[in-house]
């Protein structure tokens, strides 16, 4: 009886896992098939058509190293969006970490008046919907000329990322013993050396996780980029959205696979750090 129950239990877990990856399976079939008509489940022929049309893979016969280089150098839309997404993500991540570091240290190690209020202000963008601020901001940005600019998009990406990086890093500092720094100072290390040799190695693992997820939050941002970029800054999520709306499944699937690749990579890389206790997890809600 108990054994049967156990078996049912395990089979339902497998079934659940299968259901969960159905979309992923559908993505891959769509992206690598040609004329996948209803009611086929298994496509009749595999094909790279979608990728060729997106100008990511050269036409048959030109698939040499130079062929790839030439094609990509012609700057197809997907590559442009990919480069934009990467640049914005990396820039915003670096800036947010630099800005958050001192703040997180103060919040994690010290007690002072208004600390609760400050944390409350800091986390409010994680709860209130982005549509509430971005509509108003859009008009402001138009009037000061940030709208439609790369810079404006980076700036607005800081809003969902900042609270999350500050919170995660505050958690790191709450478990951090500043006496290590004091120890290094009494042993003759100056402030700069202490930061690079003592503080940084100690907080690095947590900081890397915070950075990776900050990047992911920026990477997945649709609404903010769309409204502030005003159609002039094309990123991957914008491309996914417009392709999906226009209804070509193969193209949508191919772009989506590129779009989710870093997400899966980051999950593999950080799975041991991610737990419900860490502030990192709550950031996922924003992706």
């Amino acid at each position: 009886m108990n054994n049967n129950l156990k078996r049912i239990n395990i089979y339902s877990i497998y079934l659940g896992a299968l259901i969960l990856i159905l979309p992923l399976i559908a993505f891959f079939i769509n992206a690598f098939s040609f004329r996948w008509f209803y009611p086929q489940v298994i496509p009749k022929e595999l094909s790279l058509q979608a990728w060729v049309r997106l100008k990511l893979i050269p036409k048959p016969g030109q698939r040499t190293f130079e062929g790839f280089l030439d094609l990509w150098a012609s700057n197809p839309t997907v590559i442009k969006a990919l480069v934009n997404s990467l640049t914005i993500g990396i820039l915003v991540t670096i800036v947010s970490i630099i800005i958050a570091l001192p703040a997180a240290r103060v919040l994690g190690l010290l007690n002072f008046r208004f600390k609760k209020l400050i944390i409350f202000i800091m986390v409010s963008p994680t709860i209130l919907p982005p549509i509430a601020f971005v509509l108003g901001l859009n008009i402001n940005f138009i009037s000061i000329g940030f709208s439609g600019s790369f810079f404006g998009v980076c700036l607005v990406h800081l809003v969902p990322i900042m609270p999350y990086v500050v919170l995660t890093m505050t958690g790191i500092f709450a478990n951090y013993n500043p006496d290590f720094e004091h120890q290094a100072r009494t042993l003759g290390a100056n402030k700069t050396t202490t930061f690079f040799q003592i503080t940084l190695p100690a907080i690095a693992p947590g900081m890397v996780v915070a950075a990776l997820f900050a990047f992911l939050v920026s990477w997945s941002q649709y609404l903010l980029t769309f409204l502030i970029g005003a159609g002039k800054v094309m990123t991957l999520p914008l491309l996914v959205f417009s392709t999906a709306s226009s209804g070509n499944p193969a193209l949508t699937a191919a772009i989506s696979i590129i779009f989710i690749f870093p997400a899966i990579l980051i999950l593999v890389f950080t799975s041991k750090f991610v737990s419900g206790q860490s502030g990192a997890t709550s950031g996922f809600g924003k992706i």
Binding site: Y14, P23, A103, V106, S124, G136, A244
Partner: protein, 291 residues
């Protein structure tokens, strides 16, 4: 001591400045616009007519109230169902078995997945020519795509709910796994030795232990699904329409007068979320006081 205070102020100013100017500034300016302040078209007087229009005018009232109902239904249903699925998944998966690591990974896979992609995935799987419809046709359950129920771009928001379940169940799952892991099985073994059966152990031991975390995660999920744009924009229909999509479309309307209505809608969404969060904090604080 003065040096320390200066350090605190200097460290906190940059992130606060970003949040206050961009986030609160944006909300404030949006609020002004919702009151009819639109220098671009020469409107400076402040009133609540946009709010009145959105909620009670003949033109928009039906759209608004049906949208609000859809919003509430979608947020409640997806939060509740995602939490339930995650709870059963987490309870089932925590014992050791073959392929546990892989299953764990798959169950967490949707966590870093952008909402946008999950929505697209729902179209691929649940539309009338999607993967499931094909499977159903293959085993002879349906004969034509039209026989498959409308699950995406449907007026009940099923597609939207499915997308949120897909995505947020992973979020609940991670949180529950870590809570269960840190609790260990001692409490359950104790309860078992005191005579609690499987159901009683779930109802009187596990559930109360994970409830605080489950509840706060629910607030995050509810708040998010209430105000998010991408998923309903891709998976919703024109009527009834979820409020964030409606606000967005008002805003992009070439008629600049509709802008105030769009702003009013977004402020209403934010207000509802805020009331909910305040209520949640009040509830937990009251509980802490009681304990």
């Amino acid at each position: 001591m003065g040096g320390e205070r200066l350090k605190i102020v200097l460290s906190l100013t940059p992130p606060l400045l970003i949040i206050i100017t961009l986030f609160f500034g944006g909300i404030f300016y949006g609020f002004l616009q919702s009151l009819g302040y639109q220098p671009a078209i020469g409107k400076y007087e402040l009133n609540f007519s946009a709010y009145y229009n959105v909620m009670f005018s003949e033109r928009y009232a039906k759209l608004f109230w049906s949208g609000l109902a859809l919003n509430l239904w979608v947020s409640f249903a997806s939060t509740f169902l995602a939490a339930v699925f995650a709870l059963f998944g987490a309870l089932a998966i925590r014992k050791t078995f073959v392929g546990k690591t892989l299953c764990n990974f798959i169950y967490s896979l949707n966590l870093p997945m952008p909402h946008l992609v999950v929505a697209v995935g729902m179209i691929f799987v649940f539309s009338q020519s999607g993967l499931l419809a094909r499977l159903a046709a293959q085993i002879g359950m349906i004969s034509s795509p039209g026989d498959f129920p409308v699950l995406v771009r449907d007026k009940y928001g099923f597609g939207i709910i499915l997308a949120y379940i897909w995505k947020e169940a992973a979020f609940f799952f991670i949180i529950l796994m870590s809570v269960l892991q840190s609790l260990g099985e001692n409490f359950e073994e104790l309860a078992q030795s005191l005579g609690a059966n499987r159901w009683q152990r779930f109802r009187y031991v596990i559930l109360p232990l994970v409830m605080p975390n489950l509840f706060s995660a629910s607030i995050i999920v509810f708040a998010f699904s209430f105000g998010a744009y991408e998923v309903p924009a891709l998976l919703g229909v024109i009527y009834p329409q979820m409020l964030p999509v409606m606000a967005f479309e008002f805003f992009l309307n070439p008629d600049l007068n509709a802008r105030s209505e769009g702003m009013a809608l977004s402020i209403i969404i934010a207000l509802i979320v805020m009331i909910l969060v305040v209520f949640y904090f009040w509830l937990t604080q009251a509980k802490i006081r009681k304990d």
